[in-house]
Symmetry: C2
Subunit: 415 residues, 2 copies
């Protein structure tokens, strides 16, 4: 009697891919495992007492408004505060608009919804944040990857890619970039390259940049770079930020600013997507920013994550075998490691699980099958005192696999 | 220099309609206006003290989990509590699944996304909730309206409509119905018709019912009807509920249960749409339900809304001219009034504004231009002591328009 649902599902449903990472993460939920797999902020840093105090105040002062339906674009006081704050960094201009989303993920989805048709192209870093590429691909687009070096997207390859696509009548709708402490690589694009990126984009009449900037405030050292949005003078850049990493993820607050017409269309799309984001959460976030708690909090998080990054890098230096390379991020939550010598990290993942250590495999960060020689390691979540042990276990797994692999190459079982 | 965004927007963006009601509501934000236009729960009933107490507890007991990213399908403890509660009403069966959404609106959007292709048909009541029809139409579907009487969707017209569509190879993907205290009409479908509805749907192999039930618990009098979901024995019905009307709208919590394969696909779609709904809000909602506060609250709301409905009906009876008819809802937040005699409520709206009273015009609740003789009146939001005055102003406006209209018919200016 059961209904066969498969033929009922839409074309968009057919474009949806299961998150492989999500499935793998389930396997890492064992008691003794040391996991560098997740992408979570460290809950030890959550400002629970400040939230308690503010939540109480919001209920007293704004209860009936904060608990009612709100405007689709977000709570006015919160938006006004953010506009002023963003203007200081050159990120909010006259005519710009601003919308509060359910985390940056909703911004990515709405962008896909309002801009992408089946067969459209989107340029993204190789590797890129898979939550972004997956959200866009639901709407049928193809991701065109552009290689990175230690300064982010390679400019000459980008130039060449755009020229080729444009010639074929397939100019992308936009570039999707995470220029600061990129997910998954952790690298940062310096100002001079951001300017080059803009100049290239300006060569095409209707090309946009989506700047995803979740980790920008988590800088442990080095000079801050300007956001691409603040360097843009043609209204080509839409900026996505989030409070998930500087307040808490559990309030689900993303902030989008960009060309007014684009943001207005996002608000329009959000109206039928969910009417509005929870006003209560926005009121709490507003007061948290207004009272300056956020600055104290960023300082605390940066100290904590820097310590953990240092511990991880030190352990990597000590334990990892030759032929392994990794990034040395100046902020954020991740580093990216690559193994030379033919080891497949999809397989390595299960070997590592046997030794009670986990990472995220590299392949899902590409849409073209690359990345099987790489892995993402998260340093923000683990306790300080298990990082060395975890990296040692991982290094031992890799060393064993390298030996096995070499043996197989020297004495192939089936020549 | 400005970019021309219009050609960049997607086909889906082209399907998005501005909410006319939203635009009209802006006009009603004048100080002296008595507005029956909105669709808001009454904030005087918000359980602010209970929320304060529970928020505090959640931060103490579950802080690090409630403020972290959560599972896409929702907070486990909350989902488990709801499943058990729904099972008591026969609304949760083995193999059913449950997902927490950002209000019912997100459920409507996700359903459209996973089920509807361009040109697909959806059957809905005439009139229907425009947040539903608009969300579906973003995905390119056509709404096929079926007339209602005072027991909801007319069964013979439904039967005939389905037969006709099926013959044309255009069987709808689903029926969208709000069987209890319908928005906008306020009428309720009795059990016997719910069963008839199911029997008709069972005649087609792959036809589903989406049961939107936001007001079900707001019954002021009369016997509760069974939900269509609880009467279904073929797994054809997906049920959408919300905490917006029995807790607060500002937490944005919708609850969907239905055929497992369908709900799983919604969870899948939600993952790329926004990762998860705010866990903090779900924890508060869970405790609010678990402690039984919700039952106390429903009692309080029903008393308040019943009083307001009675005041409105009494005022209607007293002031409205002949030729005007309206529904007498047994619960919910709205009644629906129709004016015989050629008055167009789109025009009447502005005349009423001049007299400082507002309603929602009928047309947006249809997708085919009907409804210009009707209006929706909300009774949940207004203060008790202005309801009579507001209805009196509205009646005066209608009476004037009827006279003007009659005069024009008798002495037409341009024959």
């Amino acid at each position: 009697m059961g209904i066969d649902f498969e033929p009922l599902f839409s074309d968009l449903a057919g474009n949806m891919k299961a998150s492989e990472i999500r499935e793998l993460l389930k396997l890492t939920a064992k008691p003794d495992i040391i996991s560098f797999a997740g992408g979570l902020p460290n809950p030890e840093a959550f400002p629970i007492e400040e939230i308690r105090e503010i939540a109480d105040e919001v209920l007293t002062e704004y209860g009936t408004v904060a608990l009612q339906y709100g405007a689709t674009e977000g709570v006015t006081q919160f938006r006004d505060w953010l506009k002023e704050d963003y203007a200081k960094e050159g990120e909010f201009h006259d005519g710009d608009d601003l919308v509060i989303t359910n985390g940056s993920q909703q911004a990515l989805d709405l962008l896909g919804k309002i801009l992408l048709n089946d067969g459209d192209k989107v340029v993204a870093e190789a590797p890129t944040y898979l939550g972004g590429s997956n959200a866009f691909m639901v709407y049928g687009c193809d991701i065109v990857h552009v290689e990175m070096d230690d300064e982010g997207m390679k400019i000459d390859e980008l130039e060449e890619t755009l020229r080729r696509l444009n010639k074929a009548g397939k100019l992308p709708k936009f570039l999707y970039v995470i220029p600061t402490f990129q997910n998954p690589e952790g690298v940062t694009m310096p100002d001079h390259r951001r300017k080059q990126l803009l100049e290239i984009v300006y060569q095409y009449d209707d090309l946009l940049i989506m700047e995803d900037n979740p980790y920008g405030r988590l800088r442990f050292e080095g000079e801050p770079q300007h956001s691409i949005k603040s360097l843009d003078h043609e209204g080509r850049v839409l900026s996505m930020k989030t409070l998930s990493k500087i307040l808490v993820p559990g309030f689900r607050i993303g902030v989008v600013t960009g060309p007014e017409e684009l943001v207005q269309k996002m608000i329009f799309a959000k109206q039928s997507a969910d009417l509005c984001s929870p006003p209560f959460n926005q009121f709490v976030a507003w007061k948290y920013m207004e009272y300056g708690y956020v600055e104290k909090q960023i300082k605390l998080i940066c100290e904590m994550y820097k310590r953990k990054r240092d511990l991880m890098l030190k352990a990597m230096d000590e334990h990892m075998p030759d032929g392994m390379t990794w990034t040395r991020p100046l902020g954020g939550m991740f580093l990216w490691a690559t193994i030379k010598g033919g080891i497949n990290t999809d397989k390595l993942f299960f070997k590592a699980l046997e030794k009670n250590v986990a990472f995220v495999v590299g392949r899902p960060f590409y849409t073209d099958g690359r990345g099987t020689d790489s892995m993402r390691l998260n340093f923000s979540y683990s306790e300080d005192d298990i990082i060395d042990e975890g990296i040692e276990r991982l290094a031992a797994t890799i060393r064993e696999e390298l030996v096995n692999h070499q043996r197989k190459e020297e004495y192939p079982a089936h020549p």
